[in-house]
Amino acid sequence: MATAVLSNRGSVSMTSLLSRAMSSRLKIPLLFSLPTLTLGLQWNTPPIISQIWDSILKAVPKKKQSHSRKRMRQLAGKALQDVISLNECPGCGATKRAHHLCPTCVDDIREMWKAGTGLDVKETPSTAPSGGSGASA
């Protein structure tokens, strides 16, 4: 194959030159022709052959990696941290974030403000539902 490629490229003169040099140096008999010639060519012309060789054979992925696999690989070890800084809300007893106000209590207090700051509203919320419960009981 290597010889074929070389002949295609039109470097016949170079092959003849090489073969002559080799034969003179190593004293190869004429019978021993083709396989050694290719070997000899590989030894003596490394740059051209290696370039071609690299372009022909290389380890490459067979399939495109799916989006899912890519994201799984890139997000490995980057999962969300658990929130462990938690408290019990003193106003309602629910679990809340430390140093943060409990959202239900904030809503309760806002309702109180809407109803009138909770100062004179003490009577109305207690009477209305107690009347309802009294009727049912």
């Binding site: 003193p90 943060h100 209590c105 904030v106 309760d108 207090i109 109180m112 207690s126 539902p129 107690s130």
Partner: protein
């Protein structure tokens, strides 16, 4: 930018100043505002300075304060009730409290409020926790005791007002407690009854109940 000691808030100077003026104006108007935490902290500085101008109450400070608020009608409030409220306080007129993010972008949020005002969240929160302790018969937490002292110290009629808010929340706890106590023994029936009451058959249910 280590030499600049305030947040840029992602705006150029004019935009930032306008935003802070708006925030502080809303704070003076409504006593309590809800924004992101960085904005609340920046507006807090500006608000403290403005209230200090009101406390000075000289010709120069009044001119300086009048330049600040967009709504000039609020100057009466600033130099009236707010100045009187903080006459004996040397700073710490405002408070920033973390709350759960309320916006869709989950930005860290906060409440900026005027201390000892009608919408003092810590005052109300402390009262609620005291009310819960009273309702459940549990001792008051030492931190809550500290908060009670803080919250009632400078407020006018602080103790009385505190007890009123405690009473309000106690009534709410009692109401909720009685509701759960009523519903707990007959769960299936109450579920049916609530359906009836929603569809407007409340009267018939009341009549049927004793029989």
């Amino acid at each position: 930018m280590s030499h600049i000691h305030h947040r840029m808030l992602g705006r150029k100077s004019s935009h930032r100043n306008a935003m802070l003026r708006n925030l502080v104006q809303s704070l003076i108007e409504h006593e309590s505002i809800r924004t992101t935490y960085p904005r609340a902290k920046e507006a807090q500085r500006v608000a403290e300075n403005l209230i200090n101008l009101a406390r000075k109450n000289t010709e120069a400070s009044r001119n300086e304060a009048f330049k600040f608020l967009y709504i000039h009608g609020l100057n009466d409030k600033l130099f009236g009730t707010i100045r009187e409220r903080y006459a004996n306080r040397n700073g710490g007129f405002t408070r920033v409290l973390h709350i759960e993010p309320y916006n869709g972008d989950a930005a860290p949020s906060a409440i900026l409020e005027l201390v000892d005002g009608p919408k003092d969240m810590r005052f109300a929160m402390t009262a609620k926790s005291v009310a819960r302790n009273a309702f459940e018969g549990t001792p008051i937490h030492p931190l809550t005791k500290k908060n009670i002292a803080k919250v009632t110290r400078f407020r006018q009629n602080g103790e009385e007002e505190f007890q009123k808010v405690v009473g309000y929340f106690l009534s709410i706890f009692e109401r909720r407690g009685s509701q759960t106590r009523d519903e707990s023994p007959e769960k299936g029936i109450t579920a049916l009854n609530t359906d009836n009451s929603q569809t407007g058959k409340f009267e018939s249910r009341v009549n049927d109940a004793p029989t």
